[in-house]
């Protein structure tokens, strides 16, 4: 038994040596990242970095978003030290930064141009003005619509639609017999899935998650109206089985030509205009996400960023890499290898000042507008004690958001009445907040 283990270890060592090529690397950086397209591209292009820095070896852990978050949190909070570079979102960055789990990022290299970062994005990732993570790409939410279907019915989509107008369009365009549904929206339960979307709807109705004393506001008229509207719209003019449709399922539907409209992340723009991924390209229009009484909080703001945990033993080397991966040079590298529209969106002002980028990327202008109006520090009509547009930057929000998400999907499936659900949810959220100590005087 012992013999076979040491033999196998020797064989593996040999295999690793043969496989990795740079056996004599002085610095090994372990990177944990999400498996989204832009990150996968970064993984491929990182070879350029290691060619320039032959003493650095990169090891990749690539996981789906929720699994990665759990993995990283377990490691960072127990001081596991397994990762040198982590991919975190706008949700974790400020919270972890405040706990001093992330290396505060200063002393940038001279070519980095940190002031080129988009202000709202930079705000999201900072604590007391200091950046805790460097933005890799950002997204807002926008409205996608089928220009051909609109034209066929003589409808015109305004530049800043209201939810009421959107409902009107959905009603006219909903045609299940031809396999076209009025509107596709997220319905799958999850704090980053349906709850994110519904939060933006609630925002535009003038609602908010918590008042200044952290009392949950789910039982207010704004919430009732917004949620009832959402459930009615999606169950009447949406595709069948909407309660199990998340981003990917809706993308699949839209690309198969089955949705007349879709309100979702701006990054989908790349997928819906990609000829290899959709059946009806060039017939997609882009406008801002719908509003109601206020445009505040109508578009969400999410950023995937790279950070260096303080438990890493290679902090400077890690910092050098993440600067490279979020730099203008990296953007140019991506443009050279994958076309100008493939530049990671939403992070740098210079991207949107680039005429060629704007010309070749039909959804760029709308994305820029969405990102400019989404202010995480003031996401709602009424004042709030929290930051975050489509989420609340408190540790309890994952659980709260998922709880609410599950209820919403239940209401969508017709299992519950909205009004009663919201009342019960408000109590449950209060219970969570009380236990977390928000009401201690």
């Amino acid at each position: 038994m012992k013999r076979s283990l040491s033999t196998s270890t020797a064989l593996v060592g040999l295999g690793l040596l043969l496989g990795s090529g740079s056996a004599l690397a002085a610095t090994t950086l372990t990177i944990g990242t999400v498996n989204n397209g832009d990150m996968v591209r970064m993984q491929k292009l990182a070879k350029t970095y290691t060619d320039q820095h032959p003493d650095v070896e990169l090891r990749w852990v690539v996981l789906e978003e929720n699994t990665l978050r759990q993995r990283l949190t377990t490691d960072i909070t127990t001081g596991g030290g397994q990762f040198d570079i982590i991919t975190i979102g706008a949700y974790e960055a400020p919270m972890w930064g405040r706990k001093n789990w992330l290396m505060p990022l200063e002393k940038f290299s001279p070519t980095y141009d940190v002031d080129d970062l988009m202000p709202n994005v930079r705000k999201q990732l900072s604590v007391d003005g200091k950046l805790q993570a460097l933005p890799f790409y950002s997204e807002g939410s926008i409205t996608y619509y089928r220009t051909d279907l609109f034209a066929a019915k003589g409808l015109k989509m305004p530049a800043e639609p209201t939810w009421a107008e959107v409902r009107g369009f959905a009603e006219k365009l909903h045609d299940p017999s031809k396999n076209v549904y009025g509107i596709c929206l997220r319905g799958k339960a999850g704090w980053g899935e349906n709850t994110a979307l519904v939060t933006t709807i609630v925002n535009t109705y003038g609602g908010r998650w918590f008042d200044e004393k952290w009392e949950p506001q789910l039982d207010t008229p704004e919430w009732h109206q917004a949620v009832s509207f959402y459930v009615d719209l999606l169950s009447r003019f949406g595709p069948p089985g909407p309660s199990s449709n998340g981003f990917n399922e809706n993308l699949t539907l839209f690309n198969a030509g089955k949705c007349a409209m879709w309100v979702d992340a701006s990054v989908a723009g790349a997928f819906v205009t990609d000829k290899t991924q959709r059946q009806v390209p060039d017939k997609v229009g882009f406008v801002k996400a719908p509003r109601n009484v206020t445009p505040k909080g109508s578009s969400w703001l999410w950023t995937w960023a790279l950070a260096v945990p303080t438990s890493s033993k290679q902090q400077q080397a890690a910092f050098d890499f993440i600067q490279w991966a979020t730099s203008k040079e990296y953007g140019a590298l991506v443009a050279k290898n994958h076309g100008i529209s493939a530049i990671p969106p939403g992070t740098r002002l210079s991207t949107y000042a680039n005429a060629e980028y704007m010309k070749n990327t039909p959804f760029a202008r709308i994305t820029q507008e969405a990102l400019q109006t989404a202010n995480p520090d003031s996401p709602t009509l009424k004042p709030v004690p929290y930051t975050g547009v489509q989420f609340v930057t408190i540790p309890e929000f994952q659980a709260i958001g998922t709880l609410v998400g599950k209820s919403l999907s239940g209401a969508l499936a017709g299992n519950a009445k909205v009004d009663a659900e919201l009342k019960s949810l408000n109590e449950q959220v209060q219970r969570i907040m009380k236990r977390a100590g928000y009401y201690k005087k």
């Binding site: 038994m1 295999g15 397209g37 699994t67 993995r71 397994q82 989908a268 991924q277």
Partner: protein, 277 residues
Amino acid sequence: MSDMKKRRRIAETVRAICSWLVALIIFFPIFWMMLTSFKTELGAFTMPPEFLFTPTLENYREIMERNDYLHFAWNSLVTSGGATLVGMLVAVPAAYSFAFHPTQRTQGILVWMLSTKMLPAVGVLVPIYLIARFTHLLDSRILLVIIFALANLPIMVWMLYTYFRDVPRDILEAARMDGATLTQEMYLVLLPVSRGGLASTALLSLILNWNEAFWSLNLTTTQAAPLSALVASFSSPQGLFWARLSAISTLACAPIILIGWASQRQLVRGLTFGAVK
């Protein structure tokens, strides 16, 4: 052919046909997945579904380009195989004891063994992670071998117990009469006769370890990451991914299917009563 023989033949043919039908129905989702792995992402979700299409190896190529498949496969082999080996080494003597030298406490102990699996993994993630960190075993194959072996030990003991109980006692008695020691009794008599049971238990353990996707994701990063981590990296990213996921799943289960195929003769062969008579 006599009437009865004819009826027998018909019955046997019907039986064969039904068996094949059931097997194909059960296998169908996997077949569909493997088929999807050769489609483009666009083709993977068209309606009506494509049955005839030009296959592409694009997905497989991308997977191989992006990752070191062999490294992950090797980790899977070492951890699953190692854990199965260790598990069998401990489980066989235990099952032998329970099957042939039972006491009043045997049932109690068997049930207790099963109860060690009652804590849901999500509840015990942090304690185990802390232990792993404390012993510096994070991201090591040894850790996975230990955890897999212990996690499946109760199952292996239970299954081996079942199969051993089906072995007629006379064979062992006869060996004992002939003066065989305990070890001889076990290795020279029991094991050869219960080959089918041993093979199916080992295969089951191998499969359970191979597909384990909680500890293997949470306790490894790069060195010891098995195929389940590779599959996880293709699960649910933003955008279409069905074809690629199907491809990586096919690659991930290919080694196991090959092992299963190689051992199916062992599985089919059972106790041979001819040896007794």
